[in-house]
Amino acid sequence: MAVDISISVQAEGFDPGAEYNRLRSDNYSDGATAMFVGNVRDFYVADSEEGAAQKKSVSVLELEHYPGMAESALAGIAREAAERWPLGRIRVIHRFGPLAAGDEIVFVGTTSAHRQASLDACAFIMDFLKSRAPFWKKEVGVGDDGKTQSSWVEARSSDESALKKW
């Protein structure tokens, strides 16, 4: 039976509860549902004028993406997961545009008859999404001088090395 894969790349928000309900709707063969949600943290950026001691709260996260490739990269990762594990449904949502602290950024949901398959596939999709899907984060804050400051988030080598275990 083909795995039901649904991918969305969107500016709008999403409701993880509604996504769970959709993953479960008329799905009596899969007893296991694993989900991951990534949210904007209330992080800080260094004020470039004043140094690290003058950190400012980030008011907005700007998410840039590569339209077209973003969708196809996520679909490719989902298909790879569907080949590796016995899954029923895969749902991936990734937002772009301006996001505020607490906002949902990404959702990955997988269903399976087997708990370990659903959890492993969910972790696998997140790991590959982090290093292979064309999205870029920029933190935007306001300094003491009232000026807007922004900086691109640096890729972490731990994300690349996370792929080695799969």
């Binding site: 590569y66 490739m69 196809s72």
Partner: protein, 82 residues
Amino acid sequence: MIKVLFFASLREQLGCDAVDVAADQLGSVAELRSSLATKGEAWHVALSNEQLQVAVNQELCDMQAAISDGDEVAFFPPVTGG
């Protein structure tokens, strides 16, 4: 023509999100990159970044990947989504 796209910090460094380049004599991504680097100092510096990634027709590739007329080639820094 080859459609070339730039994203994120690279786009900002270049002050440019897309250029069209004649496909003549550009057999690989590496050759395209070298050609673009001659467009000025900012281009030379930005495109020298060892960490740059490239996609040809929306698939991640390495710099040796072949390109031809009609392709879409995108350069960008390491991705930071999720």
